[in-house]
Amino acid sequence: MATHDPDAPVIRFVGVSLAFDDKVILDRVSFELLPGRAKVILGGSGVGKSTVLRLVLGLLKPDSGEIHINGERVDQLSEEALMPVRDRLGMVFQEGALFDSLTVRENVGYKLFEGTSMPIPEVDARVMEVLGFVGLDEFVARMPSELSGGQRRRVAIARALTAKPQILLYDEPTTGLDPITALTIDDEIIKLRDLEEVSTLIVTHQLRDAFYIASHMAVREQGALRFVPASPEKMAETEFLMLKDSKVLFEGTLPELRASTDPYVKAFLE
């Protein structure tokens, strides 16, 4: 396994293709995500952006091509063999996908309650820790239906964090939120990328949020957390991947994206 090499890509797609019936979703898509870096997948609706995340998780299987996670090939693993792979991944679903029959505490602690023999007080401590991280510790006893859209996404982020994943996947994390609430989600994503060194894969069509995430960084100064404009080196750590007609149209950093002369990219940015 390539996990011994700390700089090896954590996610690697090699010529991945997928079609549903006659509709081609992905056509020989290849990309890599390096540890501690972020990659934003852009594209219009229905170009298979979310499909990429489902492939990473193994919820879908590609028709051809290879998917490697931490150097291990996962696209042919059985559901059972995938479970340990999924332990390294945290997924924030669109709209949160919280279990609405469970409280916030049970949602956030789900993986530890169900999947481990960790004593309940320890699970509760971890639940409070991650809820504190997203600033929602006073909501621990609520039901998901009592939360606002933004709070639900933050609880979903907390749930994805509970088992300390190495890679976080976000599916349209800010879609449907007002701009102010969206910024709080963006800040969480930046915080996790910069302070916790979590590798991040984001699927979105919200350019404003994607640009904000790429162009800002989180710093801790004398214990206080601040979001400042990113240094050029930091900005280079977040890359963009644009999909069009099931193919990769563009891959590069924010300045490169802005400088692109491709007519579709230009039209998309405007």
């Binding site: 559901e79 997924m91 679903f93 709209e95 996908a97 919280l98 169900e114």
Partner: protein, 255 residues
């Protein structure tokens, strides 16, 4: 939709249903088993369906007594009403009507619940968090179905007989002693077996169809509505078809 596309879709549906059955068998015979969810489903499916089953059972018994009273009068055999009621209730109406009521209440509920979990990606979230949705959601419901539907059927038979007794005594003027005597005379041990074997399979069919339809839901809230309707329609028709086949089979084997 063309004819071939329709056939293809039907075959796929059946294939997926049998695949689900395979996963259920694996879920029943290996770990992890979610005991808390099993208890919850016993409560939701069993205790939750009690009221509706009590009401259907009572009214069925009552109407059965009234109708058979009229028919038996033609032969001057009004005193035999207990025989007719018990045989019909235990062998046929108890299992089938209970199953139909449970289809309406539980089958639709399961399809709607799993369907909305499907369209809001909660099922995907379960898998992403390392839980097999079949073990966590389907197996507990199936266990509750195969245990609780027979119990509910026995209860429906019981209250149906009581309902019939009330009508027989008050409306038909037959004495209670004659009625109960006739009830016992009308029942053979094979009838009791038939009355217990049927609901076991019917419970299994109702719940697995509800789960199958729910887990194949797509297309947002509209899809959930469609899934709920499909679960009730497919469930009810299958209940009647399976009841016919079981009746034939049991008559051949036991009688």
């Amino acid at each position: 939709m063309t004819f071939t596309a329709g056939v293809k879709k039907g075959v796929l549906e059946v294939q997926e249903y049998f695949r689900l059955l395979g996963q259920i068998v694996r879920g029943l015979t290996s770990r992890p088993i979610y005991f808390r969810d099993i208890i919850e489903q016993f409560d939701a499916i069993g205790i939750g369906s009690m009221t509706v089953v009590l009401l259907t059972g009572t009214f069925t018994g009552m109407v059965l007594a009234l109708q058979s009273g009229v028919t038996l009068d033609q032969f001057g055999a009004r005193s035999m009403v207990g025989r007719l009621v018990s045989a019909t209730m235990v062998k046929e109406l108890g299992p089938v009507l209970t199953a139909l009521m449970v289809t309406g209440r539980v089958g639709s509920g399961i399809a709607a619940e799993l369907g909305s979990m499907m369209v809001t990606e909660q099922i995907s979230a379960l898998r992403a968090l390392g839980t097999d949705p079949v073990r966590k959601l389907v197996v507990p419901r199936v266990l509750a179905g195969i245990v609780m539907v027979p119990i509910l059927t026995v209860i429906a038979n019981g209250v149906g007989m009581v309902g019939a007794w009330i009508i027989t005594v008050t409306q038909l003027g037959v004495s209670g002693g004659v009625f109960w005597n006739s009830v016992v005379q009308g029942l053979y041990i094979q009838d009791v077996w038939m009355g217990l074997i049927k609901p076991f399979f019917l419970g299994f069919v109702i719940v697995t169809i509800g789960c199958h339809v729910g887990l194949r839901t797509s297309g947002g809230t509209q899809g959930v509505g469609r899934a709920t309707t499909n679960a009730v329609v497919a469930g009810s028709v299958t209940v009647l078809a399976v009841d016919f086949l079981l009746t034939k089979l049991i008559l051949t084997l036991l009688y």
